[in-house]
């Protein structure tokens, strides 16, 4: 009898506790939702605009290298179409494919620019984990579920929690809410980086990379077939909508970077895929000597600074104009 009472007591308490927990989850979830979607500036505002509103005729996709290398204003001025830069730091081709799918439901652009890197299709599970930034949008973009499921097996189950969509962004959200003036202001998605590497710093960094290269195993980095599939999906959708597409590897500080990262196979794979699409023009600036070893144009090995990026955008838009006239 005592045992039976204990079991009943346990389940009553457990039930009551779960009710409290669900209530707290709902309340806090709603609070975070309001804070998140109430952002007027900062990274979440930028993603929200990209997911919900961007309707420009030139769309730039890619990682942080897209976000920091393609000035929307310069592209708009030189090419005569309004531009939006969908690039987000840390994200890879899967994110670009997701955003392209969402954006195309709203508006079909005239020109697409995809900033690609071999690491977009090399094996790296974090590229899927980083898709978690899409979770807050699932409630009004259910088509994103396909991408959210790539994060892990039980993502759909986790979505029952209203707090979970805001996992791991607490400090960024707090910072953007409390100090909106200190947030990076974007130029239609483009964020310029100030500062540059000194020649000495660049040299030291090169030495460290070489040391790393010699110490890494000789095996080449394997290709992520699923990510390759997303690249094909991206290009297929562009082709289906007959959009002139430019796939670009933007400048790198060191021309040997991909060799040092054992990612040359992925570069060849990308080139092979692109050849199948007549609407796609491919340019590789990674070994352009105009940029290589010019540390004054870079903030780090992967990213051009403001001057470098604006100069690059100007040069690129001239090339695009030429290509469009052909």
């Amino acid at each position: 009898m005592k045992k039976k009472n204990e079991v009943i007591r346990f389940f009553i308490n457990l039930g009551a506790f779960l009710c409290v927990l669900i209530l707290v989850d709902q309340l806090l979830g709603r609070l975070f939702f309001r804070l998140y979607f109430g952002q007027k500036v900062g990274p979440f505002h930028q993603i929200t605009y990209a997911v919900d509103s961007a309707k420009q005729d030139i769309m730039v996709f890619g990682s942080s290298r897209a976000e920091r290398h393609y000035s929307s204003t310069i592209l708009s001025k030189n090419l005569g179409y309004k531009t939006y830069n969908f690039g987000v730091a840390g994200e890879k081709i899967v994110y670009s494919a997701a955003l392209q799918e969402v954006a195309f439901k709203r508006h079909i652009p005239k020109i697409l620019i995809l900033d690609i890197n071999p690491f977009d299709i090399s094996v790296d599970p974090t590229k899927y984990e980083k898709l978690s930034i899409l979770i807050p949008y699932y409630s009004h973009h259910p088509e994103l579920l396909k991408y959210i499921k790539e994060i892990g097996d039980f993502e759909e189950l986790k979505l029952y929690s209203k707090i979970y969509p805001f996992n791991s962004i607490f400090f960024i959200l707090a910072g953007a809410t409390l100090f909106p003036n200190k947030q990076d202001k974007d130029d239609f998605g483009y964020i310029a980086q100030s500062g540059n590497m000194s020649a000495k710093e660049a040299n030291q960094f090169k030495q460290r990379l070489l040391e790393r290269y010699t110490n890494l195993s000789t095996a080449a980095s394997p290709t992520d077939e699923k990510a390759k599939g997303y690249l094909i999906q991206f290009l297929d959708l562009a082709k289906k909508n007959n959009i002139k597409t430019f796939v670009v590897i933007s400048p790198m500080l060191f021309s040997e970077s991909y060799k040092w990262n054992k990612e040359l196979d992925q570069k060849v794979e990308i080139e092979k895929i692109i050849k199948r699409y007549p609407n796609v023009t491919y340019w590789d600036y990674s070994s352009d000597t105009y940029y290589n070893n010019h540390s004054e144009k870079f903030t780090d090995m992967l990213h051009l600074n403001k001057e470098g990026a604006e100069d690059f955008t100007n040069r690129l838009s001239m090339e695009i104009l030429k290509a469009l006239k052909k």
Binding site: D25, G152, S168, F170, G175
Partner: protein, 475 residues
């Protein structure tokens, strides 16, 4: 099946439900079947290795009990130890041994003798072989009766909560519990679930969060300065503690909900004031295993000083190698042996604990600071991917004044600091405050439920849900 997965949550709920629903005489069977399923979720065929160890030790145990002849008893014990250590050596150390042998042979221009094995290490092998060995040793010593029920004995070796990462149990503590009836107990269920929740918090919010930073530094040692190495080794100290003690908390809590009491494995080791105390608080089940079955049989500390040095170094070298077949673990063990010897040598000259409360606190802080620094330094070897990486990291320490790397994701570093702060507050209150001040155990339901809800909210908000397996699974 990982503890930090939804599969485990479902598995645990179903097993526990059945455990309380079935009659007393088949409860062990439920746990046995559940343990088989749990183990087979990793590499199914490896359960045959586990069963072969179980069968050998089960047979040896019965033979040992019925045997009067001391020489034959020694022979039987030797058989059990050889079988266990042999399997461990084959799977864990053979390739390491082979690599070193090849290096020696190459010096004499001799071609390699043995091919390399392309096999996966059975998960938790070091844990269950050690647990199996403690059974035969205890039966040999006459401290434990041989178990006649093969099912119960199998369950002793493979009880799922502690199967793959301990605590490494002793037969005296666990076998009788597996035979006893454990009716549903509200208090134990409550305590067990709370402990599991705290274990999940340590793993998801602290260990896996810190791992993001730690991996960036330790996987690319050439790219980071000395300050980053210092931060990363401190973070790793917290990461490995939360990862492993988090696992232990989940294991102990899980068993407790079923009325089974497993031994404590950690006792807030970073509050230790010296290296000896650290080892009394860190991985207690392994430390006491080495103490009882290796250190004491070698004479312990009641031996001449030269022999004491040997005893301590042997124990720590084996402890290092136990963690993995790599020179980094060997050096980690050697360093701890060295620290221990230095402490033993210096302890007569160290100031006695002061009666003045303020001075005592200062002594305590200094002791804790020195111990943590030594332990963090040794973790560099433990975590480094290779000995050459460890040396690069130590070489980088010369640039210690530079600004440390803040991590790839913008907010990760801040999350790490918050996670460490929460851990410190909780562990501090557990170490120095009475139980009634601990939030999970408060007499006030509002505070108790508030603390539990807050923990779950933090897990949802700050937890890393794709952090992967527990570090100690690989051992």
């Amino acid at each position: 099946m990982l503890f930090n997965s939804f599969q485990f949550i479902f598995f645990y709920c179903i097993v526990t439900l059945f455990y309380f629903l079935v009659p007393k005489n088949i409860k062990w069977l439920i746990l046995f079947l559940a343990s088989c399923y749990f183990y087979m979720a990793f590499v199914p065929v490896y359960i045959l290795i586990l069963f072969s160890i179980i069968l050998i030790d089960y047979w040896v145990g019965i033979q040992l009990e019925s045997q009067e002849n001391p020489d034959k008893k020694k022979w039987l014990l030797g058989l059990s130890l050889t079988a266990n250590i042999g399997i461990l050596f084959f799977f864990k150390y053979f390739n390491f041994f082979n690599t070193n042998l090849d290096l020696v042979l190459a010096k004499f221009h001799v071609s390699p003798w043995f091919p390399y094995l392309k096999i996966l290490l059975p998960i938790g092998l070091s844990f269950h072989t050690f647990q199996a060995m403690s059974y035969t040793i205890e039966v040999y010593k006459g401290n434990q009766k041989a178990e006649r029920n093969l099912g119960i004995y199998s369950l002793y070796v493979m009880f799922y909560p502690q199967l793959v990462a301990g605590p490494i149990e002793r037969p005296q503590n666990i076998i009788h519990q597996l035979k006893e009836e454990h009716p549903f107990n509200y208090q134990l269920m409550n305590d067990g679930l709370k402990l599991m929740l705290w274990g999940f918090f340590k793993k998801l919010v602290i260990a896996d969060r810190l791992a993001i930073y730690v991996n960036l530094i330790f996987n690319y040692p050439w790219l980071h300065n000395g300050s980053s190495v210092v931060v990363a080794s401190f973070f790793f100290a917290i990461q490995i503690y939360c990862d492993f003690s988090g696992y232990s908390d989940i294991a102990i809590g899980c068993a407790r909900t079923m009325g089974i009491d497993l031994m404590r494995n950690f006792n807030r080791p970073y509050f230790a004031e010296n290296i000896q105390e650290f080892w009394r608080r860190w991985h207690i089940s392994l430390s006491t295993w080495f103490r009882d079955y290796l250190y004491f049989p070698m004479g312990g500390n009641r031996v001449p000083f030269g022999r004491l040095i040997l005893n301590i170094m042997v124990v720590f070298i084996i402890s290092g190698i136990w963690h993995g077949a790599n020179y980094t673990f060997l050096i980690w063990g050697l360093l701890h042996g060295f620290f221990m010897l230095v402490y033993i040598l210096l302890s007569p000259y160290l100031p006695k604990p002061s009666k003045n409360l303020f001075l005592r606190r200062i002594q305590r802080i200094v002791g804790i600071g020195i111990t943590i620094s030594l332990v963090c330094f040794s973790w560099i070897f433990f975590r480094a991917n290779s000995l050459s990486d460890a040396l690069v990291l130590i070489k980088n320490l010369k640039s210690i004044g530079e600004i440390p790397f803040r991590g790839g994701a913008t907010s990760n570093f801040s999350h790490c600091i918050l996670a460490i702060l929460i851990l410190f507050i909780v562990e501090f209150s557990m170490e120095y405050l009475p139980k009634k001040y601990q939030l999970y155990h408060s007499g006030n339901r509002f505070i108790r439920w508030g603390a539990l809800t807050f923990t779950i909210v933090l897990i949802l908000l700050l937890g890393v849900f794709n952090g992967g397996q527990f570090i100690y699974f690989q051992f």
